[in-house]
């Protein structure tokens, strides 16, 4: 119970910090909006509704992935100010609680973006999903968690590196390829209605469980790397 309490304290701290500055959410929101607009210029979504259905799943997740990487880098930046990270290293509380709290906070931030973006996407791309839309309630959180859990971990991994802005995507994208494939396929399956997304949802679930475990087990090593 003390572990869960520590996670909750970290989560509350991150939420409060974000509430005061609103840096991450505002940045991500505008960024994804711009990505949506730029992609709409690359092809005509209203003229080709079938093509729009086939592509919008991929576009949505590419936009979210890029936006999430910008927010993930800043999420650890907060801990570097005033040597807070050194305090975390010396603290007696389990290191993985810090990680889980931050990953959950990032999950909430990216989910807020998704909620704001879903209507924009539907309007701009003139989407009429042909599959079972309720699956998205499962696909969106699972896919977001897959990006966020690895992203939070690798952002911490790159804390001491010289080229942090580049290192996070360079490491996160190759590792997350299976999750991206799964989430894009599942979303496309729901929007086009051509195939059932269950296989990909199971795959995402497996990915999430395996990598959450790996992150929690290895985070103390990363935090105390020196």
């Amino acid at each position: 119970m003390t572990y869960l309490r520590t996670v909750w304290l970290h989560l509350r701290k991150d939420l409060r910090l974000e509430w005061r500055s609103r840096d991450a959410i505002a940045g991500m929101l505008f960024f994804t909006l711009l990505v949506t607009v730029v992609f709409a210029m690359a092809f005509d979504p209203t003229g080709f509704p079938t093509l729009a259905r086939q592509m919008s799943g991929g576009l949505l997740w590419v936009g979210l992935l890029f936006a999430a990487t910008t927010a993930l880098n800043t999420s650890w930046e907060r801990e570097r100010r005033n040597q807070v990270l050194d305090a975390h290293r010396m603290s007696a509380s389990p290191a993985s609680a810090l990680f889980l709290g931050k990953a959950l906070a990032n999950l909430i931030f990216v989910s807020v973006i998704e909620l704001a973006l879903a209507p924009v996407f539907t309007v701009f791309y003139n989407l009429h999903p042909l599959g079972e839309v309720r699956w998205l309630l499962l696909i969106l959180p699972l896919g977001t968690w897959a990006i966020v859990v690895n992203g939070t971990f690798f952002a911490a991994l790159g804390l001491s590196s010289r080229n942090r802005e580049l290192m996070l995507p360079a490491v996160l994208f190759p590792i997350s390829i299976p999750a991206l494939l799964g989430v894009v396929q599942a979303t496309t399956g729901v929007i086009t209605g051509d195939f059932e997304p269950q296989l990909w949802i199971r795959m995402l679930l497996g990915f999430d469980v395996i990598f959450t475990t790996a992150c929690i087990l290895l985070f103390p090593t990363v935090l105390h790397a020196e």
């Binding site: 991994l157 590196s161 360079a170 299976p178 990363v222 020196e226």
Partner: protein
């Protein structure tokens, strides 16, 4: 040890020569593809060897994480082995992809297909390039730990990549060595010579790179020690 290294180099170079001779002059021409099929004698051996070195890298990385506080000397050696195998992995997977594309163009008519094997091999390439990037960008004291953690993640990722992409799509032929369309007996010698040649050449490369990294580590330790003493 030094002499043994040069013997291994000479041995694997000789094997490469024999393999080249067997593949180009001795092995018969394949029925449907014609002479272009001879890329097979490099493509398959290189790719099989390319799948061995990542495992060595992952085992060395896990052992490094385990021993890094207790046995510093051994940990340094393991880290050097991890660097050497990662670099040879990138080289071999790159060669495997290149020979595959050269073969795919005349036989399939396209340079690249987003099929299960090709895509998962490309992912292996990307994972290890990112591993080398991390090593380059990280701070000296942390880079070994960070890279070892990444290697463990890559090791977890590879089977998931393979499964997920197999569900996605497949075009590459099933393994010809164990599958139905088996290799003709007259083609085995050339294949086996090249298999041995590329494996030993890879081992020689790992060994040479390992020796260089070990010397760099020792030099860095000595500089640090001198700085303390002055």
């Amino acid at each position: 040890m030094k002499r043994l290294f040069w013997i291994l180099c000479a041995f694997s170079l000789a094997l490469l020569g024999i393999g080249f001779y067997e593949a180009v002059f001795v092995a018969p021409v394949e029925a449907t593809m014609g002479p272009v099929y001879r890329i097979f004698y490099w493509h398959v051996p290189i790719n099989i060897s390319a799948e061995v070195f990542p495992y060595v890298n992952m085992v060395a990385s896990i052992a490094y994480l385990y021993f890094r506080r207790t046995k510093v000397e051994l940990a340094g050696k393991l880290d050097a082995l991890a660097i050497a195998t990662a670099e040879v992995t990138v080289l071999y997977v790159g060669l495997g992809l290149a020979t595959g594309m050269l073969w795919g163009r005349p036989v399939w008519g396209i340079w690249w297909a987003w099929d299960a094997r090709l895509t998962s091999f490309l992912m292996l390439f990307l994972l290890y390039v990112s591993y080398l990037l991390v090593r380059r960008f990280s701070d000296g004291s942390q880079s070994a730990v960070v890279a070892a953690v990444l290697s463990v993640f890559a090791g977890i990722d590879v089977p998931i990549v393979f499964m997920s992409i197999r569900w996605w799509r497949t075009q590459h032929p099933a393994p010809v060595l164990t599958g139905e369309g088996s290799l003709d007996s007259s083609m085995w010698p050339a294949f086996l010579w090249n298999m041995a040649a590329w494996f030993f050449w890879g081992v020689a490369l790992v060994w040479g790179r390992y020796a260089v990294v070990r010397r760099e580590q020792v030099a860095a330790e000595q500089t640090a020690l001198q700085a303390l003493e002055v």
